[in-house]
Amino acid sequence: MLRKASSLGSAWGECVGLSFDLLINALIAGILLGGFYTAVTIGVSISFGILDIVNIAHPAFIILGSYIAYIININFGVDPIVISIVMLPAFYLLGAGIYQIYYEAFERRGQESLRGLSFFFGLLFVTEVTLILVFGVDYRYVEASYIGPSWRIGVMDFPLRMLVPCVAALALFVALQLFLSRTFIGRAISAVAQDQLALRLMAASPTRIKRIAFGISIATTAVAGALLIIIQPVEPSVGREYIGRVFAICVFGGLGSLPGTVIGAMLIGIVESFTATFYGPSWAPAVAFGVLLLTLAFRPAGLLGR
């Protein structure tokens, strides 16, 4: 329609037509990006939002997930998402192990604020440097049939490279939300955030529940990592960009609320996409920080916070 209007010869019409295409595609790209951000953030929503563990090493585990998907994909040609599902138990155990150390060394002694944070910062740093030592700083990527083609509906463009991760991420969200609201352990995880003593009276060990929850939180990084390397080539320090972003989304959406995380991720995805389209991609990383500061200043509870 708008294209037809421009055939009148008006340069202005041409301009509107173009920017309408641009707008709608920026919106779609933002929503798809936001879907992916859901997968990246949902683990932090569990660890930081529910368990109150400030796991700033979360992005480092995502990059680890990316590299595992990369190694297996390059050598055996397996689909990255399939790899990530196979890797879930391994990442779960990794997470449970890390929680055990965290509990013994910091939480039990009541030192989680200063030393616990430094511990995770050290983990982040060691993981990144180890990956640099092993793989170098070259960008790595995976191969899959859906990287490259895209669906077109009218002027709307759906690159499968973004659409598949978005759908996978939303599936992950639905699965986790059902798990947290329908199963005994899931509800116990929500209860840990509210009243540990009451949980103990129900004959459930808070430490065990937290270990399970933290394991799940790290397990999601296997999926998020595979999705990340589908979307963009990965090198070890890419994770740093995500630290601010995941916590911004988590705080913006409301701590401990998974639906809030999805909404927050979508909104930040859209704003970033518009920023990238109209001001240039190099400004996109600043968006999350701006949102984080505004949220902390005006509504620290976030969108759907308790």
Partner: protein
């Protein structure tokens, strides 16, 4: 009075260090020494906030880089002597520290830590997009060969850094023994109780953030002259953030001695490892040491020494 004696001792030690380094007739000593001194300032600055009040700042690199880029900016605008630039860098970083603290310190401690992490990314984005200070290409600073007072320019930079070390250490010690320091300690031990007892926690935390940020900015201000070519990725390098946390943690966070010991040990270790092995490996060592120390020796080397001395005293 005791603070004055401490100041004199620090100045005397600094003078001895400078002339000892000069006796070796090797400029490399000054290059390596400058880095170690710079880390002493960063670690001490970090500790004023992190060790005394218990608030973790992951954005040391951002404050450091802000000092460095303030220098680049004013160097282009109107070249000035480095001591003036140091003051400017300190003011800029101090203001940013204050602003960050004001927005995030009223909430739970973790928010401040996260915001500082994000601050580094955002400031880097700004600098990369700011052409006046070189953008992503970086900026050249041509440093003079000689300084009228000290001689070779690297020695002049070394002296300036030594002076900053003295300032930082005196600041840290004065705070530690003052009412301010006791206020900080109450925040670290139990903020809620401190608040209930009438300690103005927010004001104290803001003082700590501003002071700590300003010292980091001051440490960064001479950096462009040292390195000659400043790039966003080198100024915002993660090694500044990790080192300024690891050094106090390994040395011990409760007094001014800890960061000093940690910085001298880790700083020299890294200088040696960079030359003999590789710079990536030495960062790995720092990370592993940090993890090991926070788990095994929560009070750092100072804590270990105190633990071994105490039973003997009894």
């Amino acid at each position: 009075m005791r603070n004055f004696v401490f100041l004199l001792v620090c100045v005397a030690v600094a003078i001895v260090v400078f002339f000892a380094a000069r006796m070796l007739h090797n400029d490399y000593i000054f290059f390596a020494g400058y880095t170690v001194l710079q880390f002493i300032v960063l670690a001490t600055a970090w500790n004023i906030l992190g060790g005394y009040t218990g608030y973790v700042n992951f954005g040391s690199a951002a404050f450091f880089a802000m000092g460095a880029y303030a220098t680049v900016f004013f160097h282009k605008l109107y070249p000035q002597p480095i001591p003036v630039l140091i003051v400017i860098g300190g003011i800029v970083s101090g203001i940013v520290g204050f602003g960050m603290g004001y927005l995030t310190l009223r909430l739970r401690g973790a928010f401040f830590a996260i915001a500082t992490l994000a601050l580094a990314v955002v400031l880097q984005t700004f600098v990369v997009n700011w052409d006046y200070v070189g953008g992503s290409r970086g900026a050249y600073i041509i440093r003079p060969n000689e300084n009228a007072l000290v001689g070779p320019y690297i020695q002049y930079l070394f002296v300036l850094m030594l002076a900053l070390v003295v300032i930082a250490l005196v600041c840290a010690r004065v705070i530690e023994r003052s009412q301010l320091g006791y206020g900080f300690a109450t925040i670290r031990d139990d903020e809620l109780a401190a608040e209930a007892c009438g300690v103005p926690t927010l004001r104290l935390k803001l003082i700590a953030t501003t002071l700590s940020g300003a010292l980091m900015g001051m440490a960064g201000a001479p950096f462009p002259y040292y390195i000659g070519y400043l790039q966003p990725s080198s100024a915002f390098g993660l090694e500044y953030a990790v080192n300024s946390i690891a050094m106090p943690m390994i040395g011990g966070t409760t007094s001014w001695v800890g960061p000093l010991i940690g910085a001298i040990l880790l700083g020299s270790l890294q200088q040696i490892a960079t030359v003999t092995i590789s710079s990536a490996v030495n960062l790995l060592i720092v990370g592993l040491l940090l993890i090991a120390f926070v788990i095994v020796a929560p009070n750092g080397i100072v804590g270990l020494v105190q633990d071994t001395l105490r039973p003997r005293a009894k």
